[in-house]
């Protein structure tokens, strides 16, 4: 939703010095690789003009939909030869513009890679193609009593390849980790079109942990063409506890006390009053609409263990002045309690024409003060805000409400959002917990990282992709851009932009 990306994002460095580059011939060669699975006409290209970051639209030059790894390799090799940018795309549900097309690039859709290749019940692994949706994996192994743990809210639609690219989270991260904790092996196509593997079916592999590095790299280091995910046994018992509080502070203290009591919830979510009210009006989950804050705490595990934890949890909630405590054991009741949280975004969408979703992470102990400051920013900008929060892991999603039809309001929302991200950095957090940088938060990268840190990121990129053909212009800003943005983070006495001339 940040529009200030003009000149650089549409960089035309890829079209210079290409005297022998015949666009028609190039498209012809792509066709000979993909057959009919190529799109060049505007109406059909428009399907791909944006990912989940819909405010940023850009028609790709050409879209290809290969169906074999060999085709991906050939396409990438061709792009490498002519230095044509390649933007890989899964389901296009990402929220930060990681899959926003490049005007002069090839958009490589992995939608046809939608097969689950094998399930290994002995080693608890599933080998899947990158276009398989997150939920489809759990659906496939359900009858075996297994599931795939990370569950981003878009899990019905989002693809596992995209999950790797963004290192997606979900509501169960505190206990079960992010995508990086739940993938054991990847097959990658390099920018030169070579196929290689990272990770192993064993618990570790030789050399640097490139498997971890590939997670969250937003399609900038390689193209994921196969993913081996870890499966977990479905827990024997699950329960969800809902508790309302008369103040955000009480709820925040309860969260700390839950962890301090040695309880490790599978999910621990918080909503503030505007979010509670919007959700309740939308789905009637049974939330207490007079509460200032609401906690949803999911416990799972072995039946005997769960009883002990539930008793301890109830005590903590009681000690922190919880009102309207409700415990759900039955799956229907659990689903209803979760429904309000899971529908929080669309619910907020009903009370405001537009909203802008932020994704900062903060140390949990800063929660009450950060919410208070967001609330005063809300007054300053005269824009309402509703907060939903992955309280267990400190990942905050403030939803800024605005109306794009009111002149200047979008810009105000963006400025408000930028202030929230800077606040997250100030209290020791980060600008993005799970949505990624993409193009949306690229300017805030200048605030979070120093020139030297960004330079090292560019160095890592060049170690994998010397010609910078993979998803150029995303995730890591150039120092030049940061200089223009005027917010380069300088610490430990480093000079401002000492290496500016290198870019």
């Amino acid at each position: 939703m940040f529009f200030a990306h003009g000149p650089e994002f549409r960089s035309n460095i890829y079209s210079v010095d290409k005297q022998d580059f015949d666009k028609t011939d190039f498209v012809g060669r792509l066709s000979s690789i993909c057959g009919e699975n190529i799109i060049t006409d505007k109406p059909r290209l428009a399907v791909y003009e944006a990912d989940g970051l819909t405010a940023k639209k850009q028609l790709p030059w050409v879209v290809v939909l290969p169906s074999t790894i060999e085709q991906v390799q050939e396409i990438v090799r061709l792009c490498y030869q002519f230095e044509v940018p390649v933007v890989a795309r899964g389901a296009g549900t990402g929220l930060s513009g990681g899959a926003t097309p490049h005007a002069e690039g090839v958009l490589l859709s992995l939608a046809k890679f939608n097969h689950i290749l094998s399930v290994d019940t002995e080693n608890l692994l599933a080998r899947v193609e990158p276009g398989v949706t997150n939920l489809a994996i759990s659906e496939r192994v359900k009858d075996l009593g297994l599931y795939y743990a990370p569950d981003p809210s878009s899990q019905v639609a989002c693809s596992i390849g995209g999950n790797v690219a963004e290192n997606s989270g979900g509501v169960h991260c505190l206990k079960y980790g992010l995508t990086v904790h739940n993938v054991s092996k990847l097959k990658i196509v390099s920018p030169t079109g070579e196929l290689y593997e990272l990770g192993s079916e064993a618990f570790d592999s030789a050399g640097y942990d490139l498997l971890a590095l590939m997670h969250g790299s937003e399609g900038m280091l390689g193209i994921v063409v196969e993913v081996t995910v870890k499966l977990l046994p479905v827990p024997e018992a699950v329960c969800v506890v809902m508790a309302g509080f008369n103040s955000v502070e009480e709820a925040a203290t309860a969260v700390s006390d839950i962890i301090a009591a040695g309880i490790l919830p599978a999910g621990l979510e918080m909503m503030d009053k505007p979010a509670i009210r919007a959700a309740e009006a939308f789905v009637h989950a049974g939330y207490p609409t007079d509460a200032e804050a609401l906690l949803l705490c999911e416990l799972d595990g072995i039946e005997a263990e769960l009883e002990t934890q539930l008793a301890a949890l109830k005590k903590v909630l009681e000690n922190n002045g919880a009102i309207a405590v409700s415990v759900a054991h039955e799956s229907e009741h659990r689903a209803r309690l979760w429904l309000g949280r899971k529908a929080a975004f669309p619910a907020v969408g009903r009370i405001a024409p537009d909203y802008y979703c932020m994704d900062g992470t903060i140390p949990r102990r800063q929660l009450a003060s950060v919410l208070a400051r967001i609330s005063s920013l809300s007054e300053e900008f005269s824009l309402a805000v509703a907060n939903v929060f992955h309280a267990g892991d400190g990942n905050l999603h403030p939803l800024i409400l605005y109306d794009a039809n009111h002149p200047g309001e979008l810009k105000k929302a963006e400025q408000f959002g930028a202030k929230i991200l800077e606040l997250c950095i100030e209290v020791g957090g980060t600008i993005t917990g799970e949505h990624g940088v993409g193009i949306e938060k690229i300017d805030q990268m200048c605030v979070q990282f120093s020139a030297s840190e960004l330079t090292l990121f560019h160095g890592i990129k060049s170690a994998f992709d010397e010609k910078k053909i993979l998803n150029p212009g995303k995730a890591v800003p150039t120092l030049h851009r940061c200089a223009e943005f005027g917010a380069m983070h300088v610490h430990r006495g480093q000079e401002k932009f000492p290496e500016l001339d290198r870019f």
Partner: protein, 352 residues
Amino acid sequence: MNSNDQSASLLAQVREAIEHHSPLVIEGCGSKKFYGYPPSPDLDRLDVSTHCGIIDYAPAELVLHVRAGTRLSEINQLLADNNQILPFEPPDFDTTATIGGVVASGLSGPRRPYAGSVRDFVLGVTLITGRGEILEFGGQVMKNVAGYDVSRLVTGSLGTLGIILDVSLKVLPAPEVEITRAIAVSCQEFQSRLQSMQRNMPLSAAAYQDGFLRVRLSGSETAVSAAEQKIGGEDTDNVYWGELNKLECFAGVKNLWRVSVAPASKLFLEDAAVIGWGGGIRWLADPEYDPRKVLAGEDGHATLVKYDKQNLSSETEIFQPLPDLLLGIHQKLKQQFDPAEIFNPGRMYRSI
């Protein structure tokens, strides 16, 4: 909390080393000196052990932020006092291990298959790079996807990419109760026995040695005693896991191989002196053959963890050789992090 911030002095030493093109051997307290290729004796030592102390620890945040020279034993004690643990259970070879070495070596203990590895719990690092700069990556929060994951990249890189100054780790609540059972079973059958415990059992370690499958159960008293009855076998001492973690049973072994494979793999079942990590590691003591030849074409890798110092041939590869393309990426990354090649040259691979 005691603290001793030596970052300025360490940075000065690194800058001098860069200027003089004089490589450094990065050392904590040397408890893992045996691991990797031996450093050339004429290189300068850089002692990181004095850069120590807890920077921040708030138990309710589940985050620990420490300087690299802090002793693992001190950290374990601090966590134990707060009913928490480092979930990856790193080995403390001669009780002098430092947390910097733990992260740099990336070695995890018996809990690894059930809780995760070192890198799974690394949240952030502060590094001195080979460009003579102090840089920070990741942070003290659990979810962070801003920028490439440098924190996890340097975990297990044996100091070849930079000097870890400070590190943030996710910690977890300690289990209420831990017990170990030993079950007599053949090496052909221990895997299926373990499979039967895969679900709804509070497993936190499993190893096969000398005809016994040992499993550790961790959790609430009720959960552990319920599982104990289902599993059968005999009670045995939890001390076993600490000893195995420190490789004590291999004290007399000259060439100790650690072969990492999928837990259900059938390789080396009979030859392994110990099978750890619920089947994921096959420890081979002085094998008369090259384990990598047996492993060829299979998914896994072999590391020569201990070797005969007198007879290390120039042909011997301590870590599994990498395919050319991967080695190339390693070399290019090394070039970016450490262009003057001053950090632990040749410790991990001869060419990086």
